[in-house]
Symmetry: C2
Subunit: 102 residues, 2 copies
DNA sequence: ATTATATATGAGCATATGTTCATATGTATG
DNA sequence: CATACATATGAACATATGCTCATATATAAT
């Protein structure tokens, strides 16, 4: 194929794709997103279930929040997080399926 | 949900999912895989089209090879690479679609 | 055999990323 | 208002990652 016949991706597109996959590439975030895909959770619950520090969970949630992959609602002192991007959850579940059935 | 009612992912599954997404998370590898999804390419061609050094391309191809995402055939001194994992290409294309249509 | 071409690979370096620790913020309650 | 509880955040540190540079390997041609 000639150089000029290639269909190139816009660099903005590449950056966005990279961003999506980067977020899905960390085992901790995979666990958090998978957990949140099953149920709405507060921060301490996530930390307990995944056996992580509250701080580590909170840092990761902040990343997921910034990318609008999760949302939250407050109930008193407690924040309940849930998934906010069906498409990303779909990518995650496909990869899980693929990984499980090898 | 009670602790014991969660459906947990096997740690092996999590590692495999992470591996898939890590490989897709790098802009250079995104470009290479997208290019190879369009046509079989030799190493120098990839380097020219993507304006990268031969060495950088070769290092990335080595990563893709190790994960069996690409295969190659030899023709004289030249190696022709192509995609070898339709599922990963499918994940990539879905993410591109999503990123483009925001 | 020598040389040229195509590709691979190891070492070193700079940057990115995830965790911990300490501390700050926000909300309810006495 | 003081205290407790839930969560967030900044700094520091360790590890991972991708590039470059130099060099090695493989194949072909002279």
């Amino acid at each position: 194929m000639k150089m000029e016949d290639h269909s190139f991706l816009k660099s903005e597109t590449i950056e966005n794709v990279s961003r999506i996959f980067k977020v899905l590439a960390d085992p901790t975030r995979i666990k958090i997103l998978y957990l949140l895909s099953q149920e709405e959770c507060n921060v301490n619950h996530i930390a307990e279930v995944l056996e992580m520090s509250q701080s580590a969970v909170s840092h990761q949630l902040s990343i997921l929040r910034n990318l609008r992959l999760v949302k939250y609602r407050r109930e008193g002192k407690t924040l309940f997080y849930s998934c906010d991007d069906e498409h990303v959850i779909s990518l995650l579940k496909q990869a899980i399926d693929h990984a499980e059935h090898h």
